[in-house]
């Protein structure tokens, strides 16, 4: 394969260091949610299915599941929050597609990774960049029969034909919103518009819908319709770089979930970057805020909460950092509690602080065969202490506890621990 880079070639280790460092601000590393697949039929390598696997953890506590790198960190855009923006002084490097393929396979065969997450700075044009990403995925799938996980970044503004091709090879596609509001984008990412980003996401959703229709509409079960990004699409929003509030972020998230069938919205605490743009104060990343947003996101998707309800427990559009958003909501809605563990419908059990989806399923299953008593709770959930003020069982009444003034204080950690949490 003839290939000419536009800079002097760096050794592979040096390129890897630059291009992995450049990719680490993308929070997504999931390898889950795709179809079951293995290499028995192809006699090559690779398998996917069910839940993803984290092959390692970095000392930042984050899962390492995929080889997450950029094809290049040269970029014609100048997004101010981004380490790879055109005006940044970071060292630049560029892989050629064959090098990425080699790295992916070498890592995969040693069981370091589930697959590849490939992104890129924008070089020449959106379409050119997208084509390069697709070429890597094509080489892996077609030339090397690679059955592992592939996550490709969809370059906002790339043509719909390229998005459709990317979907043939990738398990997941993602287009990052980065900033939740149009104003944020305008001031921090002058080359990006939310209209272009949404249009790209719409293109992915059309591909997903069409593939689903084709599957339903086929006459023969055996006839395999071409698949399209079976692990769906996701996006990322940066938290704390601009002035957007949690309410704005969640509003943007609900809108995106509903419009583009996103599997996930990732929230990434803005983290100081080397060679930062002058208007971004070098602060500690707001990790607790990021955590609360994830919790709120879960409430939206799995617990039947509406954004407006979550904001009941918030102040000025910001989630409570001290306690989790479900508890914050429940403390404002104490008239709904306590609920009877043995009678309450599933929807209500899901709203009890301390009960997760699995615990609720266990309770529903257990109570069919006999009353659940207070002593049983420890077998059904890990957070009995949190649950107690909000439930009744035949042998437990919280009495005045539910309405007691210091209920919040029971759960809020003492103030000096706050600094540890960050």
């Amino acid at each position: 394969m003839a290939y000419i880079g536009f800079m002097s070639e760096k050794p592979i280790l040096e390129k890897l260091a630059v291009l992995a460092d450049a990719a680490k601000y993308d929070a997504s590393c999931a390898s889950s949610g795709t179809i079951k697949r293995d290499s028995t039929g192809t006699k090559g390598i690779g398998s996917t299915g069910g839940m993803g696997i984290c092959h390692s953890y970095a000392p930042d506590g984050r899962c390492i599941s995929l080889l997450k790198i950029l094809l290049t960190n040269f970029c014609i855009y100048d997004c101010r929050f981004c380490i790879n923006r055109a005006s940044s002084n970071v060292p630049r490097a560029r892989f050629n597609p064959a090098e990425v393929v080699r790295l992916t396979l070498d890592f995969y065969k040693r069981n370091y990774i589930e697959g590849l997450f490939l992104s890129s700075g924008i070089i020449r044009s959106e379409d050119y960049t997208m084509e390069q990403l697709i070429e890597v995925a094509r080489l892996l799938r077609e030339e090397h029969r690679f059955q592992g996980y592939i996550h490709l970044k969809t370059i906002a503004g790339a043509s719909p034909e390229l998005i459709a091709r990317a979907g043939l090879y990738a398990d997941r596609l993602s287009t990052n919103v980065e900033l939740p509001t149009e104003e944020g984008l305008k001031s921090f990412a002058p080359e990006k518009t939310s209209a272009t980003i949404r249009k790209t996401m719409a293109g992915v959703r059309v591909g997903l819908d069409d593939a689903a229709d084709a599957r339903k509409g086929r006459l023969l079960r055996k006839a395999k319709p071409p698949r399209f990004a079976p692990a769906g699409q996701s996006t990322q929003m940066i938290v704390g770089a601009d002035s957007a509030r949690d309410n704005d972020i969640l509003q943007s998230a609900t809108s995106l979930y509903s419009g583009y069938r996103l599997r996930r919205v990732y929230y990434s605490a803005y983290s100081p970057i080397p060679d930062a743009s002058s208007d971004l104060p070098p602060v500690r990343p707001p990790l607790m805020r990021e955590h609360r947003l994830y919790q709120a996101d879960w409430l939206l998707r799995f617990y039947g909460f509406a954004r407006e309800e979550i904001m009941i427990g918030a102040q000025d559009g910001m989630l409570d950092l001290t306690i989790d958003p479900k508890l914050a909501w429940a403390l404002q809605r104490r008239e709904s509690f306590p609920v009877d563990i043995n009678r309450a419908p599933r929807e209500m059990l899901l709203r009890v602080p301390g009960l997760g989806t699995k615990a609720v399923e266990r309770i529903l299953s257990a109570r069919r065969l006999g009353a659940v008593r207070i002593g049983d709770l420890a077998k059904l959930t890990a957070s009995v202490k949190k649950v107690l003020p909000f439930v009744t069982t035949p042998d437990w009444r919280p009495g005045g506890l539910t309405d007691s003034a210091n209920l919040r204080a029971r759960f809020a950690p003492p103030p000096e621990q706050m600094s540890l949490a960050f």
Binding site: G61, I76, A202, G259, P272, P282
Partner: protein, 491 residues
């Protein structure tokens, strides 16, 4: 007291063939003593023959769980498992009793095994054995699982690494995949595995580079990657130095945070293209409208919609159809009437003898207005303010197409065309002259027909809708043709 001696700990087949006759003979758990070979025997042991009294059937789920749990290193497992199985014979719903102590125990043991299995899938690290590039590649790994799970873990590696040879050695046993065949063998030792692999340097480089020193969370790492695994993970030797250097790296970022723009960057950088301008006076064609619509921020609907949906069709059409607003599918594709209502419209047009290709089809409001609800967007009617603001675009389209007949589909369209809000019923069945010379025919929106629950009613309404469309066609035929296109408007 009956005594059973197990020779292969973790072997489900052995345990099952011992347990089955005991269960069949009705031997209660308290009368069975389970031992591992090597333990001293009991004086009271009795291994007389057993008479089968019943056939043994168990829930499939329990068998699957037992198959896993037998791998647990807790020596009490064979006996406790026997008790659970014994109880399950007479209590088919035993597993659902999550608060039962035996079931709780089983769930905890199973969870421990599944976690160990998951960690083994994750943390095995292969090293390549020598051999030329041309040979079938061979890899070997040394791994120390907490429990005796090699048998359970091996199929995962077979499916994943079908195309290469590999072996996983553990202190209990080894699994070997060679020439597309899986076999198990005796315990291995660490020395049988090469002490390095050429790719490990790259992997460690990657591990160091992907770590973000500004968000150190050691507890989170150790919760998911406990220290007991570290000595077999090549990257783990870098954890301490990475942590030691993290604070200094962050401080350095903070000190040198503000730097001047890279002077070379201007060469490859593109400047943002401002698309806000709405060249109202430069609209001379339908293409100009489509282009100008992209920058429309006249009302807040553009904030959450994917894109504006311009009208579509012939610039010399004699009939213009005006709908309400784009729906979900229209919003995604950027074209009017391509969703379910569009399909109904196409069918109705065909029945009325009209060809959509000869018409001009547009909406009163160009952006989709919706309420996010879980994974769906629920259509919301545009309010009069939004319709009136968007009328500017509809007027441009009317001025360019100059249709003889405008068919309004639904109330919003009527508002967009007339600027007033008469009821459809008061306008329907008659033809209304509009300013500028076009004739207005008012009818319902096709999505109204889709929403009617009563089939009979829906059929009647559908016929009325088609009749309205047919009236438009008949009228266009009867009017003098003001366009140069003799067939515009007719199928």
């Amino acid at each position: 007291m009956r005594e059973v001696t197990l020779h292969n700990p973790g072997d489900f087949t052995e345990w099952r063939s011992a347990a089955r006759p005991l269960l069949a003979a009705g031997v209660p758990p308290q009368e069975v003593l389970w031992r591992h070979a090597g333990e001293s025997g009991s004086l009271f042991a009795d291994s007389a023959n057993l008479d089968p009294k019943r056939t043994i059937t168990l829930p499939r789920e329990l068998v699957t769980i037992a198959d896993r749990v037998i791998c647990h290193r807790d020596p009490a497992v064979p006996s406790r498992l026997y008790r659970v199985v014994w109880r399950a014979l007479d209590d088919r719903r035993l597993l659902e009793r999550r608060t039962d102590p035996d079931v709780d125990w089983l769930a905890k043991m199973d969870k421990a095994i599944r976690r160990d299995l998951h960690k083994m899938h994750a943390f095995v690290r292969f090293r390549r054995l020598g051999g030329s590039e041309a040979d079938r590649e061979s890899y070997v790994a040394w791994f120390e699982p907490e429990h005796r799970i090699l048998r359970l873990a091996a199929p995962f590696f077979r499916k994943r690494f079908y195309g290469m040879d590999w072996a996983i050695l553990t202190p209990d046993a080894r699994a070997i995949w060679q020439s597309e065949e899986l076999s198990f063998g005796p315990a291995g030792t660490r020395d049988e595995v090469p002490d390095r692999d050429i790719v490990e340097d790259q992997w460690r480089t990657y591990y160091g580079a992907i770590f973000n020193p500004a968000r150190v969370k050691i507890a989170a790492m150790r919760a998911e990657m406990p220290k007991k695994y570290w000595h077999n993970l090549p990257e783990a030797q870098d954890i301490a130095p990475l942590l030691a250097g993290a604070a200094a790296r962050v401080d350095k970022m903070r000190e040198t945070a503000v730097s001047l723009a890279n002077p070379r960057s201007d060469k490859w950088r593109v400047r943002g293209v401002a698309q806000d301008a709405e060249p109202g006076d430069a609209i001379r064609s339908l293409e100009d409208i489509s282009a100008a619509l992209k920058g429309c921020t006249r009302c807040p609907l553009h904030c959450h919609a994917t894109q504006p949906v311009p009208g579509e069709g012939r610039a010399d059409a004699r009939i213009m159809l005006v709908g309400e607003q784009p729906g979900d599918r229209e919003d995604l594709e950027g074209r009017p009437f391509v969703g379910p209502a569009g399909q109904l419209l196409d069918e109705a047009l065909a029945e009325a003898g009209l060809d959509r290709a000869t018409l001009y089809v547009t909406n009163a409001v160009k952006h989709f207005k919706f309420e996010p609800r879980g994974k769906r967007r629920l259509h919301q009617n545009p309010n009069t303010g939004e319709i009136d603001i968007c009328r500017w675009w509809l007027d441009q389209e009317r001025a360019l197409v100059q249709p003889d007949i405008i068919v309004s589909l639904g109330g919003s369209a009527l508002r967009g065309i007339t600027g007033k809000s008469p009821s459809i019923s008061s306008m329907r069945g008659k033809v209304h002259a509009l300013e500028g010379g076009a004739q207005l025919i008012a009818t319902v929106h096709p999505s109204y027909l889709l929403r009617l629950p009563d089939q009979e009613r829906a059929a009647i309404e559908r016929r009325a809708f088609i009749a309205d469309l047919a009236r438009a066609k008949a009228m266009a035929e009867s009017l003098p043709n003001t366009h140069g296109n003799p067939n515009a408007g007719f199928a």
